[in-house]
């Protein structure tokens, strides 16, 4: 089990960070929480560690959101602009463009229902349909339907954001 957990840690750590980041919108916090997830996995030694890790990550992200609300901190979740650290040196223009694109995708993602968003993020983190079904309560057959709807709505919402952005630019110029 130790080897399995170690292998899982090496292969899934970044996916867990990404999954958490899309919930807390804070890269450092996402990494802290991801480490906490794996610490708990090592301590609890779950039978199905991969699915367990994402379930605990979802719970930690939710606790984080509640704590943020309690502290009334401008941390997170679905409405604030994401805090990002550039992976490489970017020019100011590139940085601005990247931030704008990120904000648009984030707004589009926030327009999905919580169920659609969760299924989409779990799928993007690499979970299988049965694993997604287990943690969302959906039937395995319903995961495909939910995913189809979530993808369509995300792209449609993003297109609307793009169109609005272009209209705004045209109005300003």
């Amino acid at each position: 089990l130790d080897d399995e957990l170690e292998s899982l840690y090496r292969t899934t750590y970044n996916a867990v960070v990404r999954f958490l980041y899309r919930k807390v919108w804070d890269a450092d916090r996402a990494q802290d929480l991801a480490q906490e997830v794996f610490v708990r996995a090592m301590a609890h030694r779950p039978e199905k560690p991969r699915a367990w890790v994402f379930a605990v990550a979802a719970n930690l992200a939710r606790d984080e959101a509640r704590a943020a609300v309690r502290r009334k901190r401008h941390l997170t979740l679905l409405t604030s602009d994401p805090v990002i650290l550039p992976t490489r040196e970017q020019s100011a223009d590139e940085q601005v463009e990247h931030d704008e694109q990120m904000a648009k995708v984030q707004r589009a993602l926030n327009l999905l229902t919580p169920r659609d968003r969760e299924v989409l993020l779990l799928w993007d983190s690499g979970l299988s349909y049965p694993e997604i079904a287990q943690h969302t309560g959906l039937a395995v057959g319903a995961v495909g339907t939910t995913l189809a709807r979530a993808r369509r709505r995300l792209v449609e919402a993003h297109d609307r954001e793009e169109a609005r952005d272009q209209t705004d630019h045209a109005a300003h110029s």
Binding site: Y21, A27, V39, A43, V105, G137, A139, G144, A148, R151
Partner: protein, 346 residues
Amino acid sequence: MLHIPEDELHAYLDQALSRSQCVEIESHLAACPRCQSMRDGIAALRDRTTALLSVLAPPVTLPPGIETIRARARGVVHGRQRAMRAGIWAASLMAALGLGWTANLWLGGEEASGVDQALVQDPDSAAAQLPSVPDSPRTSSSSSPTQTVALREPSPPRMERNTDSPTVTTLLPEPIRQEPDSVPRLVQTVAVDPLPADQDSIDFGASNNSAVLTGGQGLGEMVTESMWRIVTIGDAEQESGAPVASVPGLPVVQVKVQGLQPNQRIVAVEQQLATGEVIRTIEGPAAQMSDLLARDGQRSVLGQSTTANPLDALMTMRFGDRMVALRGPADSVRALMNRLAVPKKQ
């Protein structure tokens, strides 16, 4: 000609179908231009979704070494063991208190009536008849771990620090007053050992049922003569003598038990889905369950807590003389019911 549903094409591209389903879909695609077009559209949609989500990725960083995680995990395990030892210690203390209290009720009951009569006539001589009270109640705690004295008045106790031993807290009643028609009450005085240095408080655990009786939140909102007891899942299984009904694989938020008789016991389990929604499973004898659902109009039994969703649906199923009810998101409740693990009860 039947075409492939959209969600199946998503599942096909996500490699979520069985080998035989893939073969079936591929043979259909080979002969159906319309489905081919739809597949290409879905593949493009899928790629675009992936590209959009990749924008929302944090900077890639190297994870800390596995040894760092292991060391922290060891700390967690040790902390849990310490907490367990403290729990056992606290449970032992409670058991000792309970035993002492019960024993005094049994042993002191007969004497108490004699004392009562004696108190009416002569309080001083009555005090001399009290069994095993080496000091007055105000200073008794430091000399004996557990002492019980007979008192006349059940007045609210006052908390006072015993200066002889800083770790001893003594419950002090008001002084005895002579009221011949009042009933003697038993008040316990106990010497308490200090907590471990690394522990702020004692967790008496959910097994201490008398301390956690609730009736006003979550599943216990209903107003009935019965009360829900919050217990650990281990205690619920121990009481039932079998695993409790729940959906495997989902984290358990809370377990509540109603009814003291084993054949009338109802167990309620709250579990959380990854979406944050809470599902509730209640299992018990069919007669009690029917009564519960009817009396409560299915309202507070399985929902209406702070986490309940008004769109939740309720589904019940009967197994012989037992019944299980499950409340959860309407689009999930049927699938959850199918996954429900219901133990066989005697």
